[in-house]
Subunit: 247 residues, 6 copies
C-alpha cells in the first residue's frame, strides 16, 4: 500500500526528514513516498506562502492518484489545500494539523500547540475553530523559530521548543503537546521522553490514520461537498490543472 | 499486541458479533479480545443503564490492564465511563462514538448518526457537543429499533436502518453515515455497499485508532485531568473497586 | 415535604455538615433527610470516584422515591449520575453544581468557581459547557485542598479558600463566587460576610430550587429524554439494580 | 417579605391576572404586590414597546425599593430593563423569561417556548443566546395571538396555545413547554394537565426563585458590572429619574 | 443627503465634537446633523443610564425621520435602543459599536476595544456576543476615564488611552484598536498615527456605512423582526411616544 | 481613487457585468477597474477551482498595488485568497461574501444566502462560521444553476433565483437576502423591487466598504497576522510569485 506524504514546501532536507519520520511508524505493508512539489515556496510561513504552495501540492495529489496511492498526507501544519485535494483524490487525504489534533484529543482533555513563528498562529487558530477543537486546544504558542531553522543543528531550535512545551504544561492546564510544524517530526520522540506527556506529531499521526482508513474501507465521500470538480477549461499558466471531470 | 474490546452490556451474541467485526479489521500483530462484564444490564438504552454498566466496564478495564492490554475499546455508542477508564488505564482507551465521529470528519464535511431508539439521541447529542463536532454532525436519527433486536435476523432491522440512512443522505446534506450502536458493527459493509458513501462504525474505527496510537507511542496523559485516582477506601459493595493509588 | 440530600461519598462528618447547612435554609414545611450511600468512595476527587459513587447514589434515589421524597439533591459538585437519577425518580432531582451556577447567574453577570483539587476542574469545566454557562463562568480555580481536609479545623482550608476567592474577585472580573464542593457548605456565610459579594453554595441552592419546583407543580419530564428505564435484566452484582420498567 | 411583581404594560386586567397567579404560588410569609407603571404601552409586542416601557418599569423598581421589597419580578417575557433594574435595586430582580428558562432546564433536557406574536420571537431568541440556553431551547413558536387577546375568553387563545404546544412536543424533541408571555400565567395549570409535561411559566417561577434567593441571603452583586449608577444630572422629561448615586 | 448623528447623552461639547468628527469624513453630498436629545443623562456609563437615554434617542430618531434623514447614527458605544430605532425608522440606523467592530474585522483578524470605565465593559461584551465577533474581539480594556473627562484637555485622557492601546497591541495579539466611546472620535487620527495600526472609531465608521447603504439602496428590512410597532395607546408621561402604527 | 474589482474566474462577460454593477454604485471620485486574471478556471464552483484561481487572483492584487489601487475587491462569493491578498496589499482587500454578509446584518436580524450550486454551499457555510454570522445567517440555499448560466438570458436563471428567494422569506424567518455569487450582481435591483426586502449583493457592497475605509484612513493592519510575507525563493512555475519581502 502506497501512502504519499507531500511536503508542500520545496526544502529537500525537510522532505527527507519528514519521509524518515513517516517511514519509522509505517506498518509493514505500507510504502511511504515522501515528495515535495517542483514548484512553490521554500518554506510556508503565512497565508500567501500557503496559497501559492497549494498549486504544487495539488499537482502532487494528482500524481499520487496516478500511482495508485491509498492515501495522501498534506505535510504542512496549516493543512493547505486540504478541501481541494479531497475533491480530486479517490484516496483519502489527511492534513497533519488535523491528524495531530484529532489524536491529541484521544489522549488528553486539552492540548497546547507549539509552533514556529507567531505570524502562523492565526492559521492554526482558524483550523482549531473549523475542526471543532476550540475547547480542547488550550493554547497556541510560538517559539519564533523560522521553519528552515529546524533543520540546522546549531540553531538551538530543539531547546527553545522544549522550553516552550514546559511553559505550556505549567500554564495552559494541557495534558499533551501538539507539534505545530511538519518540520518538527524528528523531534517528537526526544520531546516526549523529556516531557513525560504525549507529544503528538502530525506526519506520523496522519500515516497511521490513513492506514486505519484503508483497513476500514473508508475514503473521502463523493456525495455532496467533496464531489469531483466539474470539467471546465482553465486558462493560461493554469491550463494544465484543468479538471477532466472524471477524476 | 492485545486490544481489549469491552461490550459493556451482557449480551453474549452481541459480544461475539462485535468481536468478530473487530477481528476482521485488526492488523496481523493485533490480538482482539472481546469481552463483556460479569455484571450489568443486558442492553444499554438510557442514562440509567449506562451508569450501572460503567462499574462492570471499569472492572474489565482493570482486568485488561493486568493482562497487559495495549488498548481498550468501550464498545457502546454512549462512550460510558470513558473518562473514568482513562484514569485507571495506562493503555489508551477509546469510545466507539468518539472513534466513529473522528474518522467521519476525515472523509466528509458532515455526517448523520443513525441509531437505535430515539430515547438515546440525547446521549449522542451530548457527546457531539463535548467532542466539538456540533457543525460536522448534521443530524442524529433514530430507527426505533431496540438494541437487542439488531441480533434477530427476522426483525427487519437492517432494512429500517438502510431506509433511515437514505433519508439522511437526502435530507441532511451529509456525506457520510455514522452507525450509532456497537451492535450495528456487522452491518457496516453491506450498508456502505448499498449506499455508496462512507459508513463509519465505531468498534472497527476504535481498533484502528488504538493500533495507530500504539505505533506512535501515544497513551493517555497522566499529567493533569486524567491523573490516576487518589488512593482511598471505598465502602460496602464497592470496596473491591477502591483504587490502590498506584495504577 | 421531604427533600433527600444525598452526599454520594461515604464521609459521615461531611454528610452531617451538609445536612445541617441544608436544614438551616429549609422552609418550615420541609424536612431534610441527608444521607450517604452504604457503598462507594470516601471522597469524590476524579472521574473514577464519580463513576463508582454513582451506583450508591442511585440506590439512595430509589430509596428516597419509596419514602415519597418530593425532591432529591445530588450533593457533590460534579453532579454525578444526575441524568440517570432523573430517569428513575418521579420527584425532581437537582445537582449542587447546577443549582449554584443557575442562581449565580441571577445575581451577577459573571462568577468564578472556587474548588478543591485542580484535578477536578475538568469536571466543572465540562458541566459549565453542558449547562450553557461558558460566558458566565469566568474562571474555575482550585485551592489544592483535599475534599476531606475541609472537615479538619486545623487545616487552614478556610483561609486558603478565602484567599483564592479574593484573587478571583481581583482578576476574573467576576461579581460572585460559586463554591465548588458540597463540603464547603458550612463556609458560605462566613465567606460572604468577608468578601462582600454573593457566595453561592450548591446544597442550599438546590434545596430552595426543589422547594420552588414543588410549589410550582413541576417535576422531571417523562416525555422523551428522561423517560423511565426500560425493564430488562441486569446481571451479577448489579442484578438488584435492574429497573422494573414501571418506575 | 414583600415581592413586587411589575407588569411593565399598563393593562389592568393583565396586572390583576398576573398578580393572582403569583399569589397562588407564594409562600405563607410572602406578600405579593403586583403593579403596573403609570406610564407606558398598553402591551409590549416589539423592541420599541419594550424600550419605552422600561422607564415606567424602572420607576416601579425604585418605588419597590422604597417600600423595602425583598425582590422584584419583571413580568414581561422580554425581560426588559433587567440589567438597568439590577443597578438600582438592592433587592434581587428576576425576569420572567429568565426564570422560566432556568427552571425548565432543571426538569427537561430541552424545551420549546410558545409565545404570542411571531414578531416577538427575535426578542426571545436574543435572550436564549444571552442566557446560554441555545442548546436547551429547541424551538420558539408563535401562535399569532396579540398579547391583550389573552384576556378575552372568547378569543380561542387557549385552544390555539394548546395546539401549538402539542405541535412542539411532536416536532421539537422537547420535554417541557415554556410559556412565552406573562399574560399566559393563568393558563399554566390547565395546559400542564392537558399536555402531561412540565409547563413552566415565568411569573410564578420568578416568585419562587426570589423567595429562594432571599432565604439564601443572596442579592445582586454590587461588585463590578451591576454597580449602582454614578450620580449625574438627567435633563428634561427624564430629570426625575437621575440617579442619586447612593442607591 | 442628511445623516443624523444622535449623541444620546446631553453633553453639548461632546455633541459638537462628535459632529465635527462625523463631518470631517462625510462625502461631499452628505449633510451631517449632530444632535442630542432634550432629555436624559449627561453621560452614559451603565445600563441604567442607557435605558433612560433611549427615550430621548428614539424621539430624535422620529424627528430625523420627519426631516427626511437618509440614515441615523446612534452615537454611544453601547448601541442603546438600536433595535427599537430600527422599528420606527424607514432610513437605516447604525450603532457606533457595531460600525466600528464590523470595519475592524475587515482590516485585522483580531481587535481590542479600548474604552472608558471598567463598569461599561459588560455592555461591550454583550454586544460582541450578539454581533458574532467573539473570536475577533480579543480583549475589552478600560482606562478608568469618565466619559466627560474626555472633553477636558488637562485630564491626561489621551495619554492613558494611548498607553492602554499599546498594552493591547503587546498583550492581546490584536492587529487593530476599536475606540470604545463616541467621545473618543477626535482622538482617532492622533492615535492611529502614534500606534501605526488601524484605529477604528464608530461615529466616523457609521457615517461611511450609512453613505454606503444609501448608495446601494439598502434600508432596514420591514419584513419580520423589525416590522413597525403596532398602533396602541401609551399611558401617562409616555403617551406622546405612542406609535401611530403607520410609521 | 482606483478600486480594482477582481473577478477570479476568466469569464469575460461576467467580468464585464461585475464591472458594470460596481461602476453603477461607485462615488464620483472612484474609478472602477474590473479585471480577471490571465490564468485560471472559467468559473469557480468548488474548492479545487478556488485553490487554482487564487494564483491568478494574487497576481492581479500585485498588479493593482503597482497601479496604486486604493482598494481591491475579491469578486467571487467564496472569498478565495482573501487572507493571502491582505498579506501582499497595502490597500485594503474585501471579499464579496464578507461584504454582503456584513451589510446584511445592518439591515436585518437574519438573512438567507441564495446561491448557485448546492456543492458550493459548504464554502459559504465555512465563511459564515469564520466571520461570526452563524446566528444571523439563517439558511444557505442553492438554485442548482451553474455560474456561467447566469449570463444566459434564456436560462430562466432569474426566475429560479426569485423563486428560491421567496421560499427563503417564507421559511427561514429571514428579513434580507444575500446573493451568493458575484455573477448575480446585475440581478439585485430587479430582485429587491420584486421581493420588497433588502437584497444585498457583494460586489457593490464591497465597493462602498472600500470607499468608506479609504475615507476613514483605514487599511489592513501590518501588525501581526497580516504582516507581509517573508522574502524567500519560490521554485519552478511559481518562481515569479516569490515575495520580495518589502511589499
Amino acid at each position: 500500500m502506497l501512502i504519499r506524504v507531500i511536503n508542500p514546501n520545496t526544502s529537500a532536507p525537510m522532505t527527507a526528514a519528514i519521509g524518515a519520520a513517516a517511514a519509522r511508524v509505517a506498518a509493514p505493508g505500507t510504502r511511504i513516498d515522501c515528495v515535495s512539489p517542483a514548484m512553490g515556496p521554500a518554506s510556508i510561513e503565512g497565508h500567501y506562502d500557503e496559497a501559492i504552495a497549494t498549486v504544487g501540492l495539488l499537482e502532487e495529489i494528482r500524481a499520487g492518484e496516478l500511482l495508485g496511492a491509498a492515501g495522501h498526507v498534506v505535510a504542512c501544519f496549516g493543512d493547505p489545500g486540504l478541501d481541494a485535494a479531497r475533491e480530486i483524490a479517490r484516496a483519502p487525504v489527511i492534513g497533519v494539523a488535523e491528524a495531530a489534533m484529532h489524536l491529541a484529543t484521544l489522549v488528553a482533555t486539552g492540548f497546547s500547540v507549539v509552533t514556529t513563528l507567531e505570524r502562523t498562529c492565526i492559521i492554526t487558530e482558524h483550523l482549531v475553530h473549523n475542526y471543532g477543537f476550540t475547547r480542547q486546544c488550550r493554547a497556541i504558542r510560538a517559539c519564533e523559530i523560522a521553519v528552515l531553522e529546524l533543520e540546522h543543528p546549531g540553531s538551538g531550535a530543539y531547546e527553545r521548543i522544549e522550553d516552550e512545551c514546559r511553559r505550556a504544561l505549567r500554564e495552559d492546564r494541557s495534558g499533551a503537546i501538539v507539534l505545530g510544524c511538519a518540520g518538527m517530526a524528528e523531534l517528537r520522540d526526544r520531546l516526549q521522553a523529556a516531557l513525560g506527556v504525549p507529544v503528538v506529531e502530525g506526519v506520523t499521526a496522519a500515516v497511521k490514520l490513513l492506514e486505519g482508513l484503508a483497513a476500514l474501507g473508508l475514503a473521502t465521500s463523493r456525495h455532496g461537498d467533496y464531489a469531483a470538480p466539474l470539467a471546465k477549461p482553465y486558462a493560461g499558466l493554469m491550463a494544465r490543472f484543468a479538471p477532466g471531470g472524471s477524476s
